[in-house]
């Protein structure tokens, strides 16, 4: 095995790569011979194996496993392959970026063809995408001052600012949402309103000032802390238990091909 997988260079490398491509084309051609009705079982099998690898690695008993990188390592016989497998999956998964880019280009090329203001915006999209991609790859490959400065303008000047701005827009939306929705229309809305106000008063200097003459238990900040550490933890934990079991059930259904009524059904 290790004799087969040996690094090669030069023309031998090209030969090997050509062999791999031909080999894969042959394998895919053979796979294509699978009768239509049994294809879903092939897919199901692949799904099952993918899940089995991780499930076994997690559940099987472990023993000490010392490696060069980790003197306190432990694991079972699958553990040493984890890094390799996750690297392969990362690399294969990275190819989906192409699909996303194709989709974006399709939409925006059509708009370019249409003309008018929409076309202008699509042109903005293409130009900025190309500029950012080019300068990012360039500044990693040739980190000179010019490249660094242009990158700085596009990344810190524009991209991260746009990020932070869009993020901060939420502050405005919180104001309009709370003003509109927190009305004493029903028991539930009233509870929401009251706890929100108490917690808010507990976290600002002015709110703390209002209650500072009362005994400590009645301080807004004490009530806030009690709500957040005790009541909140309990409710969030209860919700979390349900979510945990629910996600476990979905995972089991997908893994074992028991999902019904959606895409994963015909998939399985």
């Amino acid at each position: 095995m290790s004799a087969l997988f040996k690094s090669v260079h030069g023309s031998a490398w090209w030969l090997h790569v050509a062999f791999v491509i031909l080999f894969c084309v042959a394998v895919f051609a053979v796979l294509q011979l699978t009768p239509k009705q049994s294809r879903k079982y092939v897919i199901q099998l692949v799904t099952f194996i993918g899940g089995l690898f991780y499930a076994l690695e997690f559940f099987l008993p472990i023993h000490a496993q010392v490696t060069a990188a980790n003197a306190h390592g432990e694991g079972n016989f699958i553990t040493p392959y984890m890094d390799v497998v996750s690297d392969w999956l990362t690399v294969i998964g990275a190819f989906t970026v192409g699909l996303g880019v194709i989709n974006l280009s399709m939409v925006h090329t059509k708009r370019l063809a249409k003309g008018g203001n929409t076309a202008f915006n699509s042109a903005v999209f293409f130009v900025s995408a190309f500029a950012m991609m080019a300068i990012d790859i360039l500044q990693k490959a040739h980190p000179n001052a010019l490249n660094k400065n242009i990158y700085e303008l596009l990344f810190s000047g524009a991209l991260t600012t746009l990020d932070a701005t869009m993020f901060s827009i939420i502050a405005f939306y919180i104001v309009s949402a709370s003003y509109r929705a927190f009305r004493v229309r029903s028991t539930e809305a009233t509870i929401l309103l009251i706890t929100a106000v108490v917690v808010m008063l507990g976290q600002i200097a002015v709110g703390q000032f209002i209650t500072h003459k009362l005994p400590e238990v009645f301080h807004f900040e004490s009530i806030r802390e009690w709500i957040l550490t005790l009541a909140n933890t309990a409710a969030v934990r209860a919700i979390g238990f349900g979510l945990g079991i629910g996600s476990l059930a979905v995972a089991l259904r997908i893994w074992l091909g028991l999902e019904r009524g959606s895409y994963f059904d015909s998939q399985a």
């Binding site: 690094s7 791999v20 699909l99 974006l104 524009a158 919180i174 509109r180 809305a189 929401l192 997908i254």
Partner: protein
């Protein structure tokens, strides 16, 4: 060119930042051409960045360098397998792409066991709460030392358990909530959740406001302080500009208010 840009990068960066900020904020008035421009600029930059980081951080170090530079030819299999995704556009070979998708579905399902344990497991034993007070117990041959439980702690623990049970009872789906105990417990569970959600809302407000304050800090002190230093007091100059702009927008929008739909939400509180 290079030196000139080097000397001015900072001030350019501030100007770009300020213009981008105002451009996106313009959506607060209403969706408009300026917002559209910055939305597409944002999308473009993000796409370019995504392609570049995928190459720089994933494909280059994990694939191209070992594959090409180190001569690990078998990494060509990764391309062959990855290219299966593109069969999604073909009617005839579509199922091959599904095979690859199936693999990833299986992987995420298989990893869920560990995700479950890391998320939920510690919460189980952390929910063991003594509901009666007792004094401290020293370590012995049988077991470890145990801290004392004060009456206040015991009461808090009872509250904790009650909330936990009520909220969980709300999440039983497979039978009708008929018995009075179940009905009340589930209703209280829902109310207690609203209590929690109110608290989350209130405490998150602070984080979001902090972001807005940071943005304003940038506009007034960073940007205003440098780009408008010539006015003598940059921050105040920007503040005046900002409010001039806001006032104008308000004047325009309130003038046209009649023909806009009422902002009251007929369904609010009806979730």
């Amino acid at each position: 060119m290079s030196i000139w840009l080097g000397n001015h990068t900072h001030i350019f960066s501030l100007w770009i930042g300020a213009i981008c900020t105002i451009g996106l904020y313009s959506v607060l008035y209403k969706e408009n051409k300026m917002f559209r421009f910055f939305e597409h600029l944002f999308l473009g930059l993000a796409t370019g960045y995504m392609i570049a980081t995928t190459w720089n951080d994933v494909l280059l170090p994990k694939w191209w360098v070992p594959f090409h530079d180190e001569g690990k030819w078998w990494l060509a299999f990764a391309v062959a397998i990855g290219s299966l995704y593109y069969f999604i556009y073909s009617k005839k070979y579509n199922w091959m792409a599904r095979m690859l998708i199936g693999l990833f579905l299986g992987v995420s399902a298989g990893q869920q066991f560990q995700v479950f344990v890391n998320d939920v497991w510690p919460q189980i034993y952390m929910s063991f709460k003594p509901v009666l007070p007792h004094s401290a117990i020293a370590a012995s041959a049988i077991g470890p030392s145990v801290n004392a439980v004060t009456p206040v702690e015991a009461i808090n623990n009872i509250v904790f358990m009650v909330i936990l049970l009520c909220v969980m009872s709300y999440f039983f789906f497979s039978f009708e909530h008929k018995s009075a105990a179940m009905v009340h417990s589930a209703r209280w569970g829902r109310w207690l959740m609203m209590f929690t959600f109110g608290a989350i809302f209130g405490s998150t407000i602070m984080a979001r406001l902090a972001l807005l304050i940071d943005r304003m800090d940038f506009m007034l002190n960073d940007f205003g302080g440098e780009a408008f230093a010539w006015t003598g007091n940059g921050p105040v100059a920007v503040l005046v500009l900002l409010f001039g702009l806001t006032g104008l927008v308000l004047y325009l929008s309130l003038g046209k208010k009649q023909d806009e739909e009422s902002i009251e939400d007929p369904n609010a509180g009806n979730y």
